[in-house]
């Protein structure tokens, strides 16, 4: 009986029923929580005293500025795009207005608008009261794919996005309008699975134009992420993630070309917090690797790559970081001017070293050197000096 039920559910998950099932789950659960399922209750705040309130009903608003002075030794080099500096000189690599607020007991909203590129980066609602350990987001958001894709540059340790992320997800990152559902798996440790269905494009993935075609479930971008976190003890923590992105290929979605990417990420952090430890010293290591398969006109490209970070917090105000990046073509077309290999994946290696000074929790200065070796281009030396500041009430970042 149980096997039959699982087979039935698996059948339901196939083909055109996928998106419909996801939408019904989210919609139904949201309806539940807005009615009897919601347990949010009003507090008797008059009995317990008055909160010191500011403009409590207004969203938390913050402005973030990233200013970069960059030097590239090569004019002819792989184009970085997104929030990366574009040329030798000075530029605003980030100018963000962020806002967030609880809407009511059931939803909150978060927004990030990028002044530098004059576009809305993210604007989505998150549920607060779904039953069954579920949480949904809907709107415009960056996809949860790997550790970096859904983060904003001002939260990065390094001043450049990684080349593997650019080849996989595009310089702006993979995202778009859509719906996402995540489940906190009832285990003794943190274990969360997330899946989304999104419209949009980024790097290897693109939904086709729906003005001419009626979309089916396979025509959308499906990022899926499973993450587990373990407190090894008070000082050590380990996070392991598994990722998949399944979508139409950015090259030829109209003719049914597909892209898929599978990745693993590992994050290990040591931060002693015993008596006499300031908590300012820490060492963290991150490793993220991906395999991508992408259908292109008359061929299939297979590539793999990733990055590894080592970050050391020396004191409250000083950090150093090292990064190595690698991308390797395994199978498929050789690069030429008629295909998009330069944008979507050349044999590449990069090493970076950065020194960060944090005058306070709200400002950051970075000096970074990067050595970049990309096939078809000469060795490129990159030097960055960056200043990041955040004013206002900005939401805390996730781990």
């Amino acid at each position: 009986m149980r096997i039959a039920a699982i087979r039935f559910l698996g059948t339901l998950a196939h083909g055109r029923f996928r998106a419909l099932l996801l939408a019904v789950l989210v919609g139904g659960a949201a309806t539940l929580c807005a009615g009897e399922g919601a347990k949010a209750q009003e507090s008797d705040s008059g009995i317990f005293g008055k909160e010191i309130l500011g403009n409590e009903m207004n969203p938390s608003i913050s402005l973030i500025l990233d200013f970069t002075a960059a030097y590239f030794s090569q004019q002819d080099r792989v184009k970085l795009g997104g929030h990366n500096p574009s040329a030798t000189g000075m530029e605003l690599t980030g100018a963000e207005l962020a806002a967030s607020a609880n809407v009511d007991p059931y939803f909150r909203f978060d927004m990030a608008f990028c002044f530098g590129h004059m576009h809305l980066e993210e604007f989505y609602m998150t549920t607060l009261a779904l039953p069954g350990n579920l949480l949904a987001r809907a709107g415009l958001f960056l996809s949860k794919a790997g550790r970096i894709n859904n983060t904003h540059p001002h939260s990065w340790v390094m001043g450049l996005g990684t080349l593997p992320n650019m080849y996989l997800f595009g310089a702006e990152g993979l995202g778009g309008p859509g719906v996402e559902l995540s489940w906190l798996i009832p285990l003794p440790w943190f274990s969360e699975i997330t899946a989304a269905i999104q419209n949009g494009e980024g790097g290897s993935f693109r939904t086709k134009s729906f003005s001419k075609y009626e979309p089916g479930p396979d025509d959308f971008i499906h990022p899926i992420r499973l993450v587990n976190f373990f407190d090894l003890d008070d000082d050590w923590a380990l996070q392991v993630g598994a990722n998949a992105v399944l979508a139409p290929s950015t090259m030829g979605p109209e003719v049914g070309n597909r892209s898929s990417a599978y990745g693993i990420d590992i994050f290990l952090k040591y931060r002693p917090i015993g008596w006499g430890s300031t908590g300012n010293f820490f060492v963290s290591a991150a490793l993220e690797g991906w395999f991508r398969e992408m259908e292109v006109p008359q061929d299939v490209w297979r590539d793999a790559g990733g990055y590894a970070d080592l970050t050391v917090g020396i004191s409250k105000r000083w950090m150093v970081a090292l990064r190595g990046e690698l991308w390797k073509r395994i199978e498929g077309d050789e690069p030429d001017e008629n295909n998009r290999r330069a944008e979507l994946g050349l044999d590449s290696q990069r090493v970076s070293a950065a020194l960060l000074f944090l005058p306070s929790h709200f400002s950051k200065m970075r000096l970074q050197y990067t050595l970049e070796s990309v096939e078809s281009f000469n060795l490129n030396h990159i030097v960055l000096m960056q200043l990041e500041v955040s004013a206002g009430s900005h939401g805390a970042h996730s781990y």
Binding site: S43, G49, I52, F229, R258, S260, S277, A396, S398, Y399
Partner: protein
């Protein structure tokens, strides 16, 4: 539009998992009220008031700076199961708690719910007023380090007891009795501490971070300066030298700091000013303290030592 190999299996596995999750019946209510606190001191007070009727955990370790926790996902698991969240508020936990609360998926402990108790609403805040970041890492609602004044401990205990009674009305009589016992003990201890601290009245102290205002107010001591030039800004040798100059005639008795701040400049100041340098626990569990009263006792005992 044939999917690539493996795509279908991955998507089917995920959706099957989600549907099964929705069909799983919620666990039945357990007898104990599950309380999670940010600061271990609130947890200790809740343990006194709740006794065997509550299950308590604290997220901040007693030797950890409560401003700067890593928002570790493991806290989400505890928040997800909690019936009552105790926090200091006044944006002390603003750097790490909000994303955890969202990920907790627990409507019972969201802001505004009966299961969300901002303990700063139970006390009279000090150092309120307009806040601007040019003044350092200041908190708009007031100084959030209020739990080290045992008089506030009594107020917090009353608030916790009322909230436990609201969540678990069948046992409200027990919570009232335990609260009464806690308050009686607290009042006796407060009277004892006041008596022992009386000879030190108006003595001057220098602090590392401005986290001692409430305790000093209770103890009758005077804060003559802070090693941090502004809250959250690490001290520099030049600022310490200037502070030494300014406090030369003030007869500074102690330099007070928590264990999670660096000690080098504090020690230098103490040596040059003739003060005693005290690294003290400010949260239950540090320096082998086991209860809320143990922490205050530790601080008082260290101060009155010759």
């Amino acid at each position: 539009m044939k999917p690539l190999p493996g795509e279908d299996r991955v998507m089917r596995a995920f959706l099957t998992t989600v549907v099964l999750a929705c069909l799983v019946t919620a666990a039945g209510a357990e007898a104990k009220v599950r309380v999670i606190s940010t600061i271990p001191d609130f947890a200790s007070i809740a343990r006194e008031v709740g006794g065997d009727l509550v299950e308590i955990a604290a997220m901040v370790r007693p030797t950890q700076d409560p401003h700067f926790l890593d928002a570790k996902p493991s806290y989400v698991v505890a928040l997800n199961k909690a019936d009552l969240l105790l926090l200091a508020g006044m944006e002390l936990e603003a750097g790490w708690l909000p994303p955890l609360l969202i990920s907790a998926r627990n409507p019972d402990i969201q802001k505004g719910s009966t299961g969300y108790l901002d303990c700063s609403t139970l006390i009279v805040p000090m150092e309120t007023g307009a806040a601007d970041r040019s003044k350092g890492d200041v908190h708009p609602g007031g100084n959030p380090h209020y739990w080290n004044d045992p008089r506030n401990g009594v107020r917090i205990a009353k608030g916790i007891a009322e909230r436990l009674s609201a969540l678990d009305p069948d046992n409200s009589e027990t919570y009232e009795k335990r609260l009464a016992a806690f308050v009686e003990t607290a009042n006796q201890r407060i009277a004892d501490w006041k008596q022992r601290l009386e000879p030190l009245k108006n003595a001057k102290v220098v602090v590392y971070h401005k986290s001692w205002v409430y305790f000093l107010d209770f103890a009758g001591l005077v804060e003559a300066g802070a090693l941090e030039p502004k809250p959250g800004i690490p001290p520099s040798p030049s600022h310490v030298a200037e502070l030494l100059r300014l406090t030369k005639e003030s007869n500074i008795k102690w330099v007070l700091q928590e264990s999670f701040y660096p000690t080098q400049l504090a020690k230098q100041f103490a040596e040059k000013s003739g003060a005693r340098h005290l690294v003290m626990p400010t949260m239950v569990g540090a320096a082998k303290t086991k209860t809320y009263f143990d922490v205050i006792e530790y601080m008082v005992s260290e101060l009155i030592k010759q």
